[in-house]
């Protein structure tokens, strides 16, 4: 693991990429000043109001249908890693995949479904490999303080999965089938029908994969040998039903989402390969929304009940862990304009959780209530936001959280913004941190962080054919009382508020869309540099100072290029993840990797129907890489997808 030469190389590479990013931005600024001022009016979609209206001073990113359409047969972790700077730590295809924003941990990232957290109340985190992109309409990513506008606890950020109606009198039936290397088979179905008053959307899917890829094992003998990955099968199925009712200024919706996943868990290259580890994840999620608008006021109510089952078996270790959790969320929001430029929003959020686990002493409940008030003011080129939140947890009030943001529009006519925000965000411990037997610690304090962010954003129509977006952010997180599991007084590990972490860095992205006659091209690129260091444990043997956190890459970059001419298109997507330390003293690390995926497709439009045939190659250059040490990832893989859509 000690390829030290890469350290210097990657440092130089980081500087090179930073240089190029800034270099690119200079001539583009020049173009902006002479650009076409034509304003394109976007299509207006009437939908339930959300906090997407971007309060002043915060950064959010939307991955819309134009991105999601390329990942219909994939899971969320693959799309996020190829299109954002969020690092995904994955055990491989079908294996657990968890996100990390800006040097924070998986439990500091909220995964929301239409504004309601999907994070397991037990683990405090979500597995992105269990979320098929085909079930989602778009993804809203809120970085740092922006996360507080949606929910509490997302210290790193929030990934909000949105499903939404399109008020059209139209019926669409879609079938999307895929077949790929290593026994992969996917089948997605979507039926959408309705009119301007009522919409129903039904989605169903089934996917299975053997994941029996070949890999070179150089860890178990003096000579590397080719082996086939075993005990790595995944089988997943689920459906979503959405109903939307639009009655003038009132929108009511009901959603239900079921899914179940059986997966065998492969062993590390260094461990006994036939341990018989397997996991069953099942969830049933329901949601009711009611939104009403009147004059300058709006009111929304969301009720959600979610049931999550996670059963883990390890034949070798005789472990049969059965866990069932239920969460009821009731959320009410009232928004009103105070005068011409000021908006006031009040949100009350109540969450009740119940966990029934053979790893807890008894059935365990938990209640958390939060009250959030925010004011957003935009006038002229200036904007400001102030948010205050009070959380009642375990019948005690936490120290209030806050966030304040300001923004400055550099020119009246242009979308060039300078933004800054400062936040204090708290996260209550997960149920496992508190109650797991052995080692749970009911006396844990909540984690909290001070978050500082400054960003520059531009969105410019250069010409009728070319649109450019660019952003650059610098950030700093001071996370206090971070919860870690460590050896306790006896021979098992226990949870404790053990250390502080400081994470700082920069991230930048650029996107260009070009449309000319029958040619469409889109180029996106992003780069992030993150220095996440433990700021001193309470141990006297503290060696953490100035050391990068384990499995936290300093450098990450992604790029994609999509080009289409008439009915033929191609997509190239690449993801670079720099070296990641795998020991706390930074003495060992995994080398970085650069994975390229390429696909080609052809679309056919016939009367009343549409079809799309897509062939792709993942890991084009067949590189040998690992996201987690000793868990090999697949080499070159092929897939073929066929989408058939009937429209009436």
């Amino acid at each position: 693991m000690k390829t030290y030469i890469n350290r210097e190389f990657i440092y130089n590479l980081r500087n090179t990429i930073l240089y190029i990013v800034f270099f690119l931005s200079i001539p583009l600024q020049g173009q902006i000043s002479t650009g076409n001022d034509t304003v394109k009016i976007k299509e207006v979609v009437i939908e339930r109001k959300r906090s997407k209206s971007d309060p002043a001073g915060y950064r959010t990113t939307i991955l819309d249908s134009s991105v999601l359409v390329n990942y219909n047969n994939r899971n969320l972790s693959e799309m996020i890693s190829e299109n954002t700077n969020i690092f995904i730590k994955t055990y491989g295809t079908g294996g657990t995949a968890t996100p990390a924003f800006r040097g924070t941990g998986a439990s500091h990232t909220l995964i929301d479904w239409n504004g309601v957290s999907l994070n397991s109340p037990m683990l405090g985190q979500s597995d992105l490999s269990l979320i098929p992109v085909g079930l989602i309409d778009d993804v809203q990513i809120s970085f740092g303080g922006a996360s507080m506008l949606l929910n509490d606890g997302g210290i790193g950020g929030t990934i909000n999965l949105e499903t939404k109606p399109e008020w059209k009198k139209e019926t669409i039936i879609s079938l999307n089938s895929g077949i790929g290397s290593f026994g992969q088979f996917t089948e997605f179905m979507k039926v959408k029908t309705g009119n301007y008053k009522f919409q129903t959307v039904t989605k169903g899917y089934f996917q299975t994969s053997e994941n029996n890829f070949r890999y070179l094992n150089s860890e178990i003998g003096s000579d590397p040998i080719w082996q086939t990955r075993t005990n790595n099968q995944v089988k997943q199925r689920g459906f979503v039903q959405e109903l939307y009712f639009n009655n003038s200024n009132k929108i009511t919706s009901a959603r239900i989402w079921y899914q179940g996943t059986d997966r065998n868990l492969p062993a590390s290259l260094l461990t006994e390969p036939n341990s018989g580890e397997k996991q069953f994840d099942e969830s049933l999620r329901t949601m009711l929304n009611y939104d009403t608008f009147k004059g300058n006021s709006s009111f929304s109510f969301t009720g959600s009940w979610m049931l999550t089952r996670l059963n883990y078996f390890n034949r070798l270790a005789s472990i049969d862990s059965r866990n069932l959790s239920e969460v009821l969320t009731l959320k009410a929001a009232f928004e009103n304009s105070l005068g011409k430029n000021i908006k006031l929003k009040i949100v009350v959020d109540e969450q009740s959780g119940v966990v029934n686990s053979n790893n807890y002493d008894h059935k365990t409940t938990r209640n958390k209530t939060s009250l959030t008030a925010s004011v957003d003011r935009k006038k002229g080129r200036l904007g400001a936001t102030l948010l205050l939140r009070e959380i009642l947890d375990k019948n005690s009030l936490l120290i209030p959280d806050f966030s304040t943001g300001i923004q400055f529009r550099i020119l009246y006519e242009k979308e060039y913004y300078l933004k800054a925000n400062i936040s204090r965000n708290s996260k209550v411990p997960s149920m496992n941190d508190l109650f797991w037997v052995p080692g749970g610690n009911p006396g844990l304090k909540n984690e909290y962080a001070f978050i500082y962010e400054i960003s520059y954003e531009m969105n410019q129509i250069i010409s009728d054919a070319l649109i450019l977006k660019y952003d650059l952010s610098v950030f700093r997180y001071n996370i206090k009382d971070m919860i870690q599991w460590h050896p306790g007084e006896y021979s098992y590990w226990t949870a404790d508020n053990i250390q502080n972490v400081n994470s700082s860095g920069a991230e930048t992205s650029i996107a260009m869309d070009y449309v000319f006659n029958n040619l469409k091209a889109s180029l996106k690129a992003g780069y992030s540099f993150t220095r996440a260091i433990a700021g001193g444990s309470k141990s006297e043997n503290d060696i953490y100072g100035r050391k990068q956190l384990m499995y936290m890459p300093e450098n990450e970059a992604n790029t994609s290029f999509r080009i289409g001419y008439k009915n033929i298109y191609s997509l190239w997507a690449a993801n670079f993840v720099g070296a990641r330390y795998i020991t706390v003293d930074n003495s060992q690390y995994l080398p970085g990797y650069f994975v390229n995926n390429l696909s080609l497709g052809v679309k056919l439009q016939l009367k009343g129907s549409f079809s799309d045939l897509n062939f792709g190659i993942d890991n084009l250059f067949n590189i040998d890489y690992q996201s987690i040490a000793y868990y090999p990832l697949p080499g070159r893989a092929y897939f073929l997808k066929i989408l058939v859509q009937f429209i009436k």
Binding site: F9, L13, S218, S222, S268, T271, S491, G592, F594, Y625
Partner: protein
């Protein structure tokens, strides 16, 4: 564009680089000393082998990887030497790495074991391997390095102590028995009920088997130190620890078999004829230290202690005189655990 192409090529090179063995430790001392098994983190694959050399008073780390160009495995647990070979039991890799005890070069690997923990040579041709998860003890054929059979104990196993044809095996996890096996026919011949969770065992100078029972993983019961007459398989002495909070572990004897040592809030020593448990440690565990395992030099009674610190960073090997004075503190691998003396040191 040219720059972008360069970057793409460079990134591809980065992603393609391979691991190379670290050779800086290969020239370790070939004299006497003690091997330290660094367990590493569970599933972290960062277990390693260290060697403390009496000749140079230095520690040499990551030796297995340095010599053999590959990691030792996941959670190596123990090591034993027989002749010119050393046997390293790698728990979560389910294997035994057999190396040359002088050069450390890999000689063979026995795989397919279920969560192996400790090894004991019952004669020149046969060894028993205990198991944390399996109900059976595995029999190893030392001649061809293969698994030659199993002895079904109907319970898991941990510590192994061999006296002639009698092999005593403790049932540690949730257990309270010592199983007795006749190594001539590999049959269970007796069982002895002791305290809760017999964790470690050692023979004294009279051939008495001392068993340290830690009282359960969460100390639900009082820990006990028990002496067993190996001729009659009967308990002759029982010392009960004064509080449930006591968490003794890692019982050892010195080279003469006169003194017992164990970890309990520091290192304690006790004469085998003592009528009471020691009421204070003779080596104190300081704040920030986590005494994990001990080893007693069979010749000069030097006390080696592994300090796991916080179980994630590199731990320390602490060397004390028999009187408890600190001689040296040396950086070992992650979670330094059990030790294996290479030769008897004359000093």
């Amino acid at each position: 564009m040219k720059n972008l192409v360069k970057i793409a090529i460079l990134l591809f090179i980065v992603s393609s680089c391979t691991k190379t063995p670290d050779t800086q430790n290969i020239n370790f001392s070939f004299g006497g000393g003690v091997f330290v098994i660094n367990e590493g983190n569970f599933r972290g694959g960062n277990g390693s082998l260290s060697f403390y050399s009496y000749d140079s008073s230095k520690i040499f780390n990551d030796l297995f990887n340095s010599v053999n160009g590959r990691p030792l495995g996941d959670v190596p647990n123990s090591m034993a030497i027989k002749g010119d070979k050393a046997y390293i039991v790698v728990n979560n890799s389910g294997k035994i790495e057999i190396i040359d005890q002088a050069t450390l070069q890999s000689k063979a690997t026995i795989s397919g074991l279920i969560s192996p923990r400790n090894i004991s040579f019952v004669n020149d041709y046969k060894a028993y391997i205990s198991s944390l998860y399996s109900d059976s003890v595995t029999i190893i054929n030392l001649t061809d390095n293969s698994i030659s059979g199993y002895i079904n104990l109907r319970r898991t196993s941990e510590s192994i102590a061999t006296a002639g044809n009698k092999v005593f095996i403790s049932n540690w996890t949730s257990g309270k028995e010592i199983m007795v096996i006749n190594s001539a026919n590999d049959r269970v011949v007796d069982s002895i009920e002791v305290g809760v969770e017999p964790e470690s065992m050692a023979f004294d100078k009279y051939g008495m088997l001392w068993v340290l029972c830690n009282g359960g993983y969460a100390r639900q019961n009082y820990a006990e130190l028990i002496a067993i007459n190996t001729a009659t398989n009967s308990i002759v002495k029982t010392f009960t620890f004064p509080t449930k909070e006591a968490s003794p572990s890692c019982l050892k004897t010195d080279g003469t078999g006169q003194t017992l040592y164990y970890i309990d809030n520091g290192i304690r020593q006790m004469d085998i004829n003592s009528s009471d448990l020691p009421n204070a440690p003779f080596i104190l565990q300081e704040s920030g230290q986590y005494f994990y395992k001990i080893g007693i030099n069979p010749v000069n009674n030097d006390v080696f202690v592994t300090d796991a610190v916080d179980f994630v960073q590199q731990g320390n090997l602490l060397l004390y005189t028999g009187g408890g004075s600190l001689i040296s503190k040396l950086k070992a691998g992650i979670i330094p655990g059990s030790m294996c003396f290479k030769i008897r040191i004359n000093s």
